[in-house]
């Protein structure tokens, strides 16, 4: 929260100002409705006073009903009521429309920003946080909008009420001058007391939610390791801290709410006493006293709307701060405007590329080339930086030093459409959208017909299982593709890449969950088909590596060797060690077995 409490009030009012500037018309409607409602309420008090003075007192004192006046009075009451209904519609529908439209607009802005900000930014922000930025923070930001027109209308009503009191009697008006500002002050004190407690509760709410999110995300691990009780304990600790914070919020409410209710009642009693004195002095009539007392009764409730707005301001400001953090985040990777010709395979070139996350270097001076139409394999130990190179090739991230060039053009200068049409990355962990098979493969890119989709599925060896799905291409695959197996998800994302006929295909260990036979078939299809693409593949399997025209061997973020597979096998011990690991293990086992067989009998 920014600088102190007055700070909250000022920034809160600024958020409201921003809201009014964005929806001036609807705001006008709802404030109009609210003001009308307020004036009608005061009008009702006067009508009631008039009824007592002109109808009830004469009728009851004389025993003769003043029929005409009574009819007018009844019509006036019903009429006022109808007008109030119209005002209520204006006020509440206007306020609601304003609140919901602003929420929707800011949600669109926040989510658009998510799409613009680079992958590196996303990696620094937890999914749960981004979700609550788009949802509850935007909601909190515009919370005070709902009661705001009511509050503005009430302010108008208060001024009118005090003014009208002076037309009745200046002494009674002074009571209003004392009570209404007192109510207002009490409200301000109330919301100030509330603000830090609310903020604490909100903070804990977020923490409780974060624990639940992570714990349910890892439910399988929690279950398989029997940690349900420990996790419940972790959750429960926070949940009860939240309880304590909410009880503290409740105590403040319990203290101020009854006071706010009692204050207008005290005003009414004061009216009775002072009204009595003024009556004795002959300055007012009984009807006047009734009018004033009635005003106090009907005004007590609306005045609290001001308190609601003030009470919600701290939350609103906190929400806006978080929303603003997203909207004002920079670091989006701007695209250039250079285009590339379509058709033939593309070349990929890394020139002295270095990269690091948070200062820790992951890649150091990496240079290599994937010539047009060739297949290049990238091999290295777990954690050596292979996936980072794949991300750089598809420009998910930009290098810290050096450059990544496609067809000789720096990737940062390429237009977004060109980049997407040229390079297709298939990541290690397949990401599947909650959509149909068709939607997942085509992603609604231009010119991808069903025939093209089936062609891509065939190439990815996914046509058989898709053919068996109940509704084939129209089958929904569920959130994150839960209805598919790991290998099926990988083949679906491979088909997605192939459907766009990319000129450079980047495979980041993209077939790890696919059976060897299936993988062999995929690779054969890729090599043998009419795909004219350069292939850059992160791989462990020798069959994959053997298909490559060149192999790049990576150790701790540096290229230590490159060349044909056979060449590297002979000259680079680290490489040989890595790719022949299975054979060696098998040979070793065979030796041990022989030894056992010799030794045992």
């Amino acid at each position: 929260m920014p600088d102190g409490r007055t700070g909250v009030l000022v920034s809160g009012l600024r958020v409201l100002g921003r809201a009014i500037r964005e929806e001036p018309r609807i705001f006008a409607v709802s404030v109009g409705g609210s003001t009308a409602f307020g004036l009608l309420t005061i009008g009702t008090a006067f009508v009631v006073g008039q009824i007592v003075g002109r109808v009830i007192v004469p009728s009851l004192e004389t025993g003769n009903v003043v029929t005409g006046a009574l009819a007018i009075a009844a019509t006036a009451l019903v009429g006022l009521s109808v007008l109030r209904v119209v005002a209520i519609f204006g006020r509440r529908l206007g306020a609601g429309a304003m609140q919901y439209r602003l929420q929707a607009r800011y949600r669109r802005r926040v989510t658009r920003r998510y799409l613009e900000l680079p992958v590196a930014w996303h990696q620094r922000h937890a999914t749960g946080t981004l979700l609550s930025n788009a949802n509850s923070d935007v909601e909190a930001m515009f919370f005070p909008i709902a009661p705001m027109p009511f509050a503005v209308g009430t302010l108008v009503m208060l001024v009118a009420a005090v003014a009208s009191l002076f037309t009745v009697d200046w002494v009674l008006a002074l009571i209003g001058c004392a009570i209404f500002p007192a109510l207002f002050t009490l409200n301000v004190v109330y919301s100030r007391r509330m603000a830090p407690r609310q903020a604490r509760a909100q903070q804990l709410r977020a923490e409780v939610s974060a624990i639940a999110h992570e714990s349910f995300d890892g439910a399988l691990v929690v279950k398989t390791m029997g940690r349900e009780s420990a996790e419940t304990e972790r959750f429960s600790t926070r949940a009860f801290e939240l309880r304590d914070a909410l009880v503290r919020v409740g105590r403040v409410r319990g203290f101020f709410d009854p006071m706010l209710e009692a204050l207008p009642s005290l005003g009414t009693l004061a009216v009775l006493v002072i009204g009595g004195l003024r009556l004795r002095a002959g300055a007012v009539s009984v009807a006047d006293v009734v009018t004033v007392a009635f005003l106090f009764t009907v005004l007590a409730f609306p005045v609290r709307a001001i308190g609601w707005v003030l009470g919600e301001l701290p939350r609103s400001v906190a929400g806006w701060d978080r929303v603003r953090h997203v909207l004002e985040s920079t670091g989006e990777m701007a695209y250039g405007d250079r285009t590339l010709p379509t058709g033939a395979a593309a070349t990929l070139r890394f020139d002295g590329v270095s990269f690091g996350y948070d200062g820790e270097p992951v890649l150091r001076g990496v240079s290599f080339e994937v010539p047009a139409g060739r297949t290049v394999a990238l091999v290295g130990q777990t954690g050596s930086g292979k996936s980072t190179i794949a991300s750089l090739a598809a420009r998910l991230v930009d290098p810290r030093d050096g450059s990544v060039r496609i067809d000789g053009v720096d990737a940062t200068e390429l237009a977004a459409d060109t980049l997407a049409a040229t390079v297709a990355l298939v990541p290690q962990i397949p990401f599947v959208f909650d959509d149909t098979v068709r939607g997942n493969v085509s992603l609604e890119r231009d010119g991808i017909s069903d025939d093209e989709i089936w062609r891509a599925l065939r190439l990815a060896q996914a046509d058989a299982f898709v053919g068996r799905l109940p509704e084939q291409l129209d089958t929904m695959v569920g959130e994150r593709g839960t209805s598919l197996s790991g290998g099926q998800r990988q083949r679906l994302t491979l088909a997605r890449a192939l459907a766009g006929r990319p000129r450079l295909l980047v495979l980041d260990d993209a077939t790890s969950a696919v059976d060897p036979r299936v993988e062999a078939a995929i690779l054969a299809a890729l090599r043998g088909g009419d795909e004219r693409a350069s292939i850059f593949v992160v791989a462990y399997r020798r069959a994959t590596i053997a298909l490559a025209d060149e192999v790049i061997y990576l150790e701790h973020g540096r290229v230590v060797a490159r060349g044909r597979h056979r060449q590297l096998l002979e000259s680079v011990p680290g490489y040989a060690n890595l790719v022949t690991a299975y054979e060696k293990a098998e040979a070793e086992r065979a030796r041990e077995r022989e030894f056992d067989e010799v030794a045992v009998p």
Binding site: R107, G380, T382, F431
Partner: protein
């Protein structure tokens, strides 16, 4: 695999009645009743304060102002009213304090119980819901209940009380006028139920739409890389806009219903006032009412209208809260279908574990058969590899073995004890599975490794890593064991995450270790090294590895080949190779092609 059935999915074309939900809710949270009588008593006294003012006005006008005016009498009335107000305001304060403490305590309990219950549900149940929707059960849904209990509950209570007290006072002044007021409100009572039904449906839609919106946002955030790589941010934002707008439209529709309902109350109020004025004057002229009484009655009508209006409003908002409560209760009342046998259970006998499948079949609810009539014995201390093509039923086998699911028919026995009878506390300590997706918590590497054994010191963790041959890898990380792994472990590469997950299972020291493609993203050299060290350190335990890299199968004592839900071959690698045309023979031939 088929699409999991929706067991706890979205409701509710015809939601159950509010009353029934309240009864279920109270039954599951008896804490809410603590001190309820005292709170109610305080509420009743607090309410009485509201009628004090009209009574004071009536007394003041009739006996004070009109008679003279008699200022002494007015002073007495005012002093008495102030005394009453002081008492009732204090009672209000005490009542709210009690209510907040009791309700927050009870609902923190509900939160915790629901959280635990969700973990107790089977994998199938957990996966049948979007994750965000499970989270909302312990967050926003419970918040909605809190709001209802505190706001709705109190206000409703006070309002109803106020209506009753006001009615009594009104009836004392004039039963005829009271009747008039009731008649004016009669139409409202008749339409209010239909409004509630429409509102319930309206809010149901709002909840559904918010769920869809959150799912779309989360997809766009988690899939940010793919969206960027394929240049489909336009399509994604179009989708997002659609869900955001649908949510807004649903909100506005619910609001329209709510406002219409509120406005009808306003109209009824106007009608009541006018009728009271007319009938009151007629009665008064007849000498049946005093001026003060009639005036007080006009005040009483507003006192009657206010709570009726507020109560309708609260009931409207309550539809939203009740929907939340219902969602919480639906989860809490869902019987875990794979449950801990608790007092009927037994621990696993000590020592190495042997495995027996007796006529085991499995299918997902309303799905095709995944495993059919599997009979199998795995002796203790053996190392078994389960191989087969994608979709052959390997993973299902692992899930049945660790009782993540129960078989449709047949029985799985560990060391002779039917799995369904084994206490979870014993099962989860002795049998550990490493799933393919090695989920890590947002903590350091050391904390993740000791997840299963929280007491373990850093030295022990280091020792374990050294035993697994991973000491060099950890030493190469920027902060060693203290390196944070990021959300879901995303600061590490996929292969590294699997290394941590494996170490986590290893330090848990199980007697039966089940590896479900646990090293699929690790480089071959590391995998082979890991396997050899695992073989060495797990000697004396039973290990079952689901694998598609046949290197695992070669190293195992026995290989089990699964095809289309049946065990088609079993035996040591060499023996199975004797039949080159068998399924294993073909799998191995292609593996050789791949790796040589």
């Amino acid at each position: 695999m088929t699409r999991p059935v929706s067991t706890v999915e979205e409701p509710d074309e015809r939601p159950e009645s509010t009353g029934r939900t309240l009864r279920r809710g109270l039954a599951l949270s008896p804490e809410l009743r603590i001190g309820l009588a005292g709170t109610l008593a305080l509420a009743i006294v607090a309410m009485a304060g509201r009628v004090a003012i009209p009574v004071a006005i009536q007394q003041g006008i009739d006996h004070g102002l009109r008679a003279g005016p008699d200022m002494q009498f007015v002073a007495i009335v005012v002093a008495a009213t102030i005394a009453v107000l002081t008492l009732t305001t204090t009672c209000s304060y005490l009542m709210m304090r009690r209510l907040f403490t009791v309700s927050e305590t009870a609902l923190a309990g509900v939160r915790t119980r629901t959280f635990r219950h969700i973990h107790d549900l089977s994998m199938l149940h957990q996966q049948s819901e979007r994750r965000g929707s499970l989270v909302s059960r312990v967050t926003s849904d419970v918040d909605a209940v809190t709001l209802f209990v505190q706001w709705g509950g109190v206000v409703l209570l006070i309002s109803v009380g106020q209506v009753i007290v006001t009615s009594i006072v009104m009836a004392v002044y004039s039963w005829q006028l009271t009747l008039v007021v009731y008649l004016a409100f009669l139409p409202l009572v008749l339409v209010v139920r239909s409004f509630q039904r429409r509102l319930a449906a309206g809010y149901g839609l709002v909840r559904k739409r918010i769920g869809a919106m959150l799912a779309a946002v989360s997809e766009s955030v988690v899939g940010a890389g793919v969206i960027r790589a394929y240049g489909v941010s336009r399509r994604t934002s179009a989708r997002l806009d659609e869900t955001i707008d649908e949510y807004r439209v649903a909100q506005q529709r619910a609001l329209r219903i709510s406002v219409t309902s509120f406005a009808s109350g306003e109209l009824a109020a106007g009608l009541a006032m006018a009728s009271v004025a007319v009938v009151g004057v007629l009665l008064g002229a007849d000498g049946q009412l005093t001026i003060g009484q009639l005036t007080a009655f006009l005040f009483l009508v507003t006192l009657f209208i206010q709570p009726v209006q507020i109560a309708t409003e609260v009931l409207n908002e309550a539809q939203n809260a009740i929907a939340g409560w219902r969602r919480v209760l639906d989860v809490l009342e869902l019987e875990p279908d794979v449950a801990d046998p608790a007092e009927n259970g037994v621990p696993l006998p000590p020592g190495p574990i042997d495995v027996r499948f007796a006529g085991v079949s499995f299918n997902y609810p309303e799905g095709p058969t995944v495993l059919a009539d599997v009979d199998l014995d795995i002796p203790a201390k053996t190392r078994v590899a389960v191989v087969g093509e994608t979709g052959s039923g390997k993973t299902t086998f692992a899930k049945l073995l660790t009782r993540l699911m129960d078989p449709a028919r047949g029985e799985v026995l560990l060391s002779g004890v039917p799995l369904a009878k084994v206490l979870f506390s014993s099962l989860r300590r002795r049998v550990v599975m490493v799933p393919q997706d090695g989920f890590l918590f947002d903590a350091t590497i050391a904390e993740n490794i000791r997840f299963g054994r929280p007491g373990l010191s850093d030295v022990d963790v280091e020792l374990a890593l050294a035993e697994l041959g991973l000491a060099d890898w950890v030493a190469g990380l920027p902060n060693g064991l203290a390196t944070p792994v990021g959300e879901r472990g995303e600061a590490l590469s996929v292969g590294e995450r699997q290394l941590v997950a494996l170490a986590r299972a290893y330090v848990a020291d199980p007697d039966l270790l089940v590896l479900d493609e646990a090293t699929s993203a690790v480089d071959p050299a590391t995998e082979v090294r890991l396997q050899r060290t695992l073989d060495a350190v797990t000697r004396g335990r039973t290990t079952i590895a689901i694998a598609h890299r046949l290197s695992t199968a070669q190293a195992a004592d026995e290989v089990i080949v699964v095809d289309e839900g049946r065990i088609v071959q079993r035996g040591p690698h060499e023996k199975l190779l004797a039949e080159p045309d068998s399924i294993y023979g073909r799998l191995y031939a292609s593996w050789l092609e791949q790796t040589r």
